[in-house]
Structures are given as C-alpha cells and as structure tokens.
C-alpha cells in the first residue's frame, strides 16, 4: 500500500527561559521516525507530556520541526511555506480531529455551517459544498443529514458532537487524519462506536490515520501499528498484535499492567505500578530516559542511550536489556 506520511528523525525543541540562567531547551520530540500507509492506523501511545500531541501536529505541519523531515505521499513538505501548503492542496489532504467535543465546536454556529466552513475557506461552490456536507454527515452516521444541518452543538450529545468534529475533518476529502484522543471525553458506552466509525471511514476513504491516545487498550482495536512514546522518544514500536501480546520494553510492559480490567479479584490485590512520575523534560535523565522509573535499570542504562533495534518482525525496541527480557532471564512484572 502507498505511504501517506513519513517522518524522519523529527525533533522539536522549545527554548525555555530559566531566570538569570539564560535559556534551556525542552526536547518535546527527540528523533522520532515513523510512517503510515493508506488504510493503516498508527496508534501513538504514552502518558501526558510524552510528546504524542506534538508529534501529531508536527506531522501535519501545524508545528515546525526543529530538525528532521516530514513527507506527505513521498513529497518533502518540511520546508514548504504556509502559502505553498495551501496552494498545493496539502492542507486539504491533512486534517485533525480534536480531543474535546465540547470546546472545539463554535456554540453559535449551526452544524451545517461548522462542517461547510473549511469548504468555504478553500473556495468551493455552493452546490458542491452542500453535497459534500451531506455526504460527510452521512459518513459519520448523523442521519438523516438534513435533520442535523440546522441544529446547534448544545443540542447534541458528546458522541454526536465528536461525529460533527470528524465530519468537519472529512469534508475536504483528506488522505491523512490525526485523531488526538478522540474518545477520551466521551462516555465509555459510546467510545467503541466512535472508534469503529473512524476505522470504517478510514477504509472506505482509503486514508492513513494517526490515533493519539493514552489508552493502550483502545489502540488494539483500531490500529495495525503502535508506537509507545516516553519523553519525546519512541520506546517500542511494531505491529499492534505483537506489541500488546509480547511487549518487550519495560515501559510497555508496565503500561499494560496499569490498565484496569473488570475483575472482582482486583480489590484483594494492589496494582503493580510504575513508580513516580515522568521526570522534568527540561532536565531529562541521562542514558535511557526511563531508567529513573525502570525496575531493571543497570549502570549502562544510566549512561548510554539505547537505540531502536528490531527484535521481532517489525518490532523495534530501545532497551539495553531487551534480549534478556525476551529470553526471560530477567522479569519486569
């Protein structure tokens, strides 16, 4: 399948002023490479502050990378100006669905206008606009679409609003969509419905999707590939089934252990947790950034930064002790 998006060694640094000491750089992304094909979803998983939303925005050229390259369908778009991005239709082809269905829709605009706005900005004719809006509403199962055109956001449930968000992203016919935590603010009973919808639209419209989430359990249902991020770096990546069934990086293993499952036996035990919280990104740990919280860290982990190595087909892990974990000579949890 054709590649839609490719990131090569992308870095995003922010300068942070530190009083009289001058400034220091905060490494939000520190050398991330990935690719997403047509009809493929990459789930980017990690805690808040790990850089996953920054990654999504850099891939859309909504943020400029400090270093590295961004390719859309094989074309290097890293250095294109805003005007070029728009004139060459890259903006239309790359869209985003935001997390919060309550604050991302203008409360004074009717649903029809919210969805048609992108078309107006890109200069579509009125007849074309109406057709595209109705089609987008139908695609997100807000049917019959005519019933929703004149409604306001407050008349809709959280799940319905998120469908409007998706419809707005779809209306320009994108080939790549970033869905940034699209279901985290929706009732548990409707989450699966929205995720399934995204997946079926992806297939029918042949798009590539980056699904950004802190919830690794939902990732397995919608994504073919997973990238687990920690402090601006990819800790482990590979086919979703391998990463979830046979996680290798201690962070992935512990992250999976943190997910609650409904089981009455839970309350008689304590959950195995990752100790502490991610350290300050302004002054990150030396060596492997996870070593301060890792139960199996050694001296080498404290000094030498591990690089991503392939340990199983397509499964890359940045951990000095990966081989021992695979052999079972050391256990994380």
């Amino acid at each position: 399948m054709e590649e839609v998006i490719r990131l090569e060694n992308v870095k995003k640094y922010y300068e942070v002023r530190r009083g009289f000491l001058g400034s220091q750089s905060l490494k939000a992304l520190d050398g991330v490479s990935l690719n997403i094909k047509k009809k493929e979803t990459l789930a980017v998983v990690g805690e808040s502050g790990c850089g996953k939303s920054t990654l999504g925005r850099v891939s859309l050229r909504l943020l400029d990378a400090t270093d590295g390259r961004v390719f859309f369908k094989g074309q290097d778009i890293t250095m294109l100006s805003e005007k070029e991005l728009r004139d060459k239709s890259f903006r239309k082809k790359m869209q985003i669905v935001f997390q919060d269905p309550y604050s991302s829709l203008n409360p004074f605009m009717r649903i029809g206008n919210i969805i048609s706005e992108p078309l107006e900005i890109h200069g579509y004719a009125r007849e074309e606009t109406r057709e595209a809006v109705l089609k987008a509403l139908e695609d997100v199962k807000l049917v019959p679409p005519e019933d929703f055109l004149n409604r306001y956001p407050h008349e809709l449930s959280g799940g319905q609003r998120q469908r409007v968000n998706i419809a707005r992203a779809l209306v320009l016919g994108p080939e790549y969509i970033v869905a940034d935590e699209p279901v985290s603010m929706i009732d548990a009973s409707s989450r699966a419905e929205i995720l399934l919808l995204l997946k079926s639209i992806r297939d029918s419209r042949e798009m590539g999707v980056m699904y950004i989430t802190h919830d690794i359990a939902t990732a397995r249902y919608v994504s073919e590939k997973i990238a687990v991020m920690y402090m601006g770096e990819v800790a482990e990546t590979g086919p979703s089934s391998s990463v979830l069934r046979n996680p290798i990086h201690p962070y992935t293993i512990l992250l999976l252990n943190s997910v609650p499952e409904p089981n009455p036996a839970n309350r008689r035990t304590r959950r195995l947790v990752i100790k502490g919280e991610p350290p300050s990104p302004i002054n990150p740990p030396s060596g492997c950034k996870f070593h301060t919280r890792c139960p199996i860290a050694t001296e080498r982990c404290r000094t030498e930064r591990p690089s991503l190595v392939e340990y199983a087909p397509g499964q890359l892990v940045a951990c000095h002790r990966a081989e021992e974990v695979i052999k079972g000579s050391v256990t994380v949890a």
């Binding site: 805690e47 397995r220 609650p260 499952e261 409904p262 009455p264 309350r267 959950r271 947790v273």
Partner: protein, 322 residues
C-alpha cells in the same frame, strides 16, 4: 456477620427545576453502606451519580430540591436538619467528598498545606499551629513528603494535586468518604497509584467509601459492592463478586461491561446505541427500554420494581421477576 451501618439512604428523590420542567436526577434511590465497606456507584454522565453524592454532603445547587427521602449517618437523619447543624456536626468530620475535577480548583495563590488546614481552622476551630501540624500529618498519610505543605498548586503534578485534594477531605478524620471520579483526568499509570492509595486508606483508616465512576473496571478495583445507575435510578445493586464474577443480571450493566476495551481476548468492545434519557420527560416503563437489546412489550408500559434475586442482589428488570 452484620457490621455497623454507616449510611442509609431511603427513597431519595432529587429534582432540578429547569425551564423545561422538573429533571428527575435522582429517583427513588435506597441503599446502605456498612462501616468499612466500599460501594461503587457506576453510570454514564447524567445518570444521577454525582447529584447523589452532592445530596449526601448537602451541597446541592440552588435549583435542586430534595423532593422526598431520608438519609442517616450512623443513625442520625441528615437531610431534614438545618444546613448549619449539618455543617457543625457532619460535614468534614463524619462525611466528606472529593469532587470531580477538584484538583483543578485548588487556590493558585495559597500554599497547598494551608488549603488542607483550612477546614481544621474554620470548621474545627483549631489554633493555627495545631491545624498546621494535623494538616502536615494528613499530607504524609496520602503519600507525599511533609515539605509539600509549603508548595503551591502549580508546582505539583496532576497526581500530586489529586493526593492533596484527598488530604483535604481526610483532614478531619471522617468516617465516610465520597470520591467522585477521582482518577478520570489522570494517566493510567498515575491512576493506578491513586487507586492503590485509596485502597491503603480504606484499610488503614477503616473508611466507608462511596466511589463514583463511569468505569466498571475501576469499580472492581475498589468496591465490595456495585450500584449501577441509569436515568436517576438504581438498575442493579449487588456484591462485586456477584455482579462481575457471576456476570451482570441487568441488560444495562451487561452492555456497560461489554463496552470496556480489553487488552486480551477476541472481539471488539460493544457499545450502547442511542443516548441517555431526557430526565425532564423520562420514557414510560423502564427508563432503559429505548436502548435495551431485550426489550419487550411490558418494558415500554410498566416500570419494573427492583427485584430481589437473592438477599444481596437487586435488579430492576422484567427479565428477572414478575
């Protein structure tokens, strides 16, 4: 063995007055809570679970009214007494609540320790020095170093702020603690730490806990019993072992359980089509009937009672009785 009863709620109805008329947020809810027991109240947004919590600490907004019902804390009725009496005798010292999103409501210009000490001074009438000492102890109880007393909210992470908010609720040693979605804004890794903390507190302090959540998986982590609410009413109430071990007996609980994304096993998570009822004009019969996969004639016309399917397991569904 029957344990001492910490809380009893009888036939509680709480309605909101709105432009559209009455919204029946809590409707005919009865349950009890033993000393040292933890009860999870589970439901979607709008199920009435937070209103129920607010009622029990007498913190309802002005447009809400308690239409009927009684609540007893260790035998004393708390809904009919004056608000002054309630505040003097019950709030903070017998019952307190950690509000949803409270960690984002900390005062940004006050040291967190002083915020924890506040109820001791204003409600407990303790001298400042004594209040400070007790607040420091409580900060340690929730797993933070004592130096955190002097920190400001912006210096703390989400997980630390959540611990401070729990410390505030515990500072006057209440017997009953209500936690409203205490982990919903946190990362799973931090969520797991807070859940372990709550378990430790239950064991160490002998607390009775009401844990309000939309997540059945989290409920199973803490609760001895689970109470599932929908449209302001109890749909199912039973021990966690029965409801999750043997499997839910109410279609709503069943659907809620199958909506949870799992890490293992086959198949996609399920979802519940439609949306929760408009409680200003709830559907006739069973309130869940428009979304229920097993609906039949009777469900649309007659509201089912809470059937006692055994002494400790109640289910409000026509499939479970006649």
């Amino acid at each position: 063995m029957s344990r001492e009863e910490a809380l009893r709620v009888e036939d509680l109805k709480v309605y909101y007055m709105t432009e559209k008329g009455y919204v029946r947020a809590v409707d005919e809810v009865s349950f009890n809570l033993s000393k040292g027991e933890s009860l999870a109240i589970v439901g979607e947004s709008g199920s009435g679970k937070s209103t129920l919590g607010m009622t029990l600490i007498r913190a309802l907004p002005k447009n809400a009214s308690i239409v009927s019902g009684r609540a007893y804390i260790f035998g004393d009725e708390i809904l009919s007494i004056s608000l002054q009496d309630f505040r003097r005798k019950f709030s903070w010292r017998l019952i307190s609540m950690v509000f949803q999103g409270a960690m984002n409501s900390l005062n940004p210009v006050l040291k967190v320790g002083d915020q924890v000490a506040e109820p001791l001074i204003y409600s407990g009438g303790l001298p400042k020095e004594e209040a400070r000492r007790r607040a420091t102890e409580t900060i340690e109880t929730v797993g933070l170093p004592r130096e955190f007393y002097n920190r400001y909210p912006h210096e703390l992470s989400g997980g630390m702020k959540q611990r401070i908010v729990i410390a505030m609720a515990l500072v006057m040693n209440p017997q009953i603690l209500i936690l409203d979605e205490p982990t919903s804004a946190l990362d799973v890794t931090i969520q797991a730490q807070i859940i372990n903390l709550i378990k430790d507190l239950i064991d160490k302090l002998g607390l009775s806990v009401i844990f309000i959540t939309h997540d059945l998986a989290l409920a199973s982590d803490i609760a001895d019993r689970i109470m599932v609410m929908y449209g302001g009413q109890i749909m199912e109430l039973g021990s966690t072992d029965r409801v999750l071990g043997e499997g839910p007996k109410h279609p709503y609980t069943e659907k809620l359980l199958s909506s949870i994304p799992r890490l293992r096993g086959e198949g996609m998570p399920d979802f519940i089509p439609g949306r929760p009822p408009d409680l200003s004009s709830p559907p006739p019969g069973c309130r869940f009937h428009p979304r229920c996969p097993y609906v039949f004639d009777r469900c649309m016309k007659e509201e089912p009672p809470l059937f006692n399917i055994n002494s400790t397991h109640l289910v409000k569904c026509w499939l479970r009785g006649d």
